[in-house]
Amino acid sequence: MDIAFIIIAALTFVSALAAISLRNLVHCALSVAVTFVGLALLYLKLGAEFVGFAQIVVYVGAVAILIVFAILLTKSSETSNEPRYSRGAIWSGVVAAVAFAGLVAAISASQVSLTSSPVAPSASVEKIGQDLMSKYVLPLEAIGLLLTAALIGAVIIAMKEKPAEGDEQ
């Protein structure tokens, strides 16, 4: 538990809290982007360079921008006057605490935390590339298919509709 981990974890935690409790929606979206950066820093601290930088490229460079565009184009940016805590706040807090306790119990009892000093596998880019092309080629192709379908769906939704021929005379 060295100082770097404490700082990164604090950054991630504070920005995640800010993302759910700030009034202004675009501020929340920017806090979510800071949370993504915090996660990327955690990956980098664990030595996974490729995953950390890919996290920044994908999440901060694309997902965060998608979120802010979605907020911009759909909702007015005025702050709402609703009360901060919804009516079932206490019960949802209890459910969240129970779920968190269950997760902590499951992780503590699992294989990962039982090994005393795990040998970190080398995560060089070359090894990732070779694994992606040999062991994990089927998930890779499946993800490519999924992304293509999403792209085609987006184009179809955004395409200008041709006026139907028989309808308007």
Partner: protein, 401 residues
């Protein structure tokens, strides 16, 4: 002249060796960053003056010529002006985001300088996934542009910001894919290894350097990379989001004084860093262009700077020559022309890599013909196809009567 080549590294080792033990690591880090922070803003200052003078000459007028010899101290006058200007913040603006946007734009751009080698052994950090780090911090600039445009609570800023972000996202794909074509041949994401793969000379008499730009896919890739780089840094002819005559400087219209200067600095520094990456990927980094002894005397960092200055000159030249593209023309160009060309370039790289194993007489010429044909064909076909689909008619004139 080994000593002149390594003079900066020698200086740094001397200074760090003279420090007490506790301060050695921070001192080494500081001394790696300090040259970047000193050289590139100075280059920015000189570029602003050079740009105004070169643009002036292209437009048949003199540029600034009052301050200093031939106007070359204009940057100092501009600097003093921006520092002493009043810092206006609109009353309705979102103060925190408005304040953070220039910082959020400048920080990733400065980070990107740390992985590039500016001379033999002159890099700040060596990362195994250095190229990915570069593009990751480039992604941070898009969010900063949006922050700037949105926080000003101004219709024109928001419109300019959205156009700028759309442009940057669209041109990021051709940028990344043309860099990937280099990574395919070299086999590594480390900029130092990419530069090392371009050393040596080939061809008849050993006169042509082994740079990636002297291959068919490298030439196409370099062109596509430079066009995408101009679009990424909002540089003419892609500067619609910030043009003064179109949208009144777009997303930084509400910024004045030092914040505007920070935006300006970040934009030009972004231009320099992406040109430097283009040099590392395609133009052989800090290698000399010919194997003559005279060229070996010039230090490696001088070659890098020379190439960088040439590319900056070409950008200024293009700015003064070509008209601006409209937003729909930009987007069409990115998605319908550049993306297919970069994908075809990837295919051509694969064919070139396979054809490198050919060993018969005339193999080199055949390689060039096949790969060149595979690139020129779609280029002409796409160009013709996209232009014909626009139904250009004969130009008609309407006169006032």
């Amino acid at each position: 002249m080994e000593f002149l080549d390594q003079i900066f590294i020698w200086t740094k080792t001397q200074v760090v060796g003279a420090l007490p033990d506790v301060l050695q690591v921070p001192g080494s880090i500081l001394l790696s960053i300090l040259p970047i922070m000193a050289v590139f803003p100075l280059l920015f200052a000189l570029t602003t003056v050079a740009e105004r003078k070169i643009l002036g000459r292209i437009q048949n007028r003199l540029g600034p010529n009052r301050v200093g010899p031939f106007g070359f101290l204009q940057w100092a006058a501009d600097g003093i002006k921006t520092i002493t200007k009043e810092d206006l913040v609109p009353r309705n603006a979102d103060k925190i985001v408005h304040f953070l946007a220039p910082v959020a734009l400048l920080a990733p751009v400065l980070l990107a300088y740390s992985v590039l080698p500016f001379g033999r052994g002159m890099y700040a950090i060596e990362l195994d996934a250095g190229l990915l780090f570069f593009f990751a911090v480039g992604a941070g600039t898009e969010l900063a542009v949006f922050m700037a445009g949105w926080s000003s609570r101004n219709k024109y800023s928001l419109l300019g910001a959205m156009r700028a972000v759309a442009q940057m996202i669209s041109y990021e794909l051709p940028l990344l894919l043309s860099a990937v074509s280099v990574v395919m041949i070299v086999g590594s994401l480390n900029p130092n290894e990419i530069v090392a793969a371009q050393e040596g000379f080939k061809g008849a008499g050993g006169l042509i350097p082994n740079w990636h730009v002297f291959t068919p896919w490298g030439l196409a890739g370099f062109g596509l990379f430079m066009i995408a780089a101009a679009a990424e840094s909002n540089r003419s002819p892609f500067d619609l989001p910030e043009a003064e005559s179109e949208i009144i400087a777009g997303y930084f219209v509400e910024y004045s004084g030092m914040k505007f200067a920070t935006f300006f600095l970040a934009e030009y520094l972004g231009l320099f860093v992406i040109s430097s990456l283009g040099i590392v990927l395609f133009l052989g980094g800090w290698h000399a262009p010919a194997p003559f002894a005279l060229f070996e005397i010039v230090p490696s960092w001088a070659w890098f700077m020379g190439k960088l200055v040439t590319i900056i000159f070409c950008f200024i030249w293009v700015r003064g020559t070509l008209p601006r593209l409209r937003i729909d023309q930009l987007m069409n160009f990115a998605w319908k022309f550049m993306l297919p060309m970069t994908l075809i370039n990837l295919l051509v790289v694969a064919i070139w890599q396979y054809a490198l194993a050919w060993d018969f007489v005339g193999a080199g010429l055949l390689r060039w013909l096949i790969c060149g044909g595979l690139l020129v064909g779609p280029y002409l076909a796409l160009g013709q196809g996209l232009m014909n689909s626009r139904n250009w008619g004969k130009r008609t004139y309407r006169y006032a009567s």
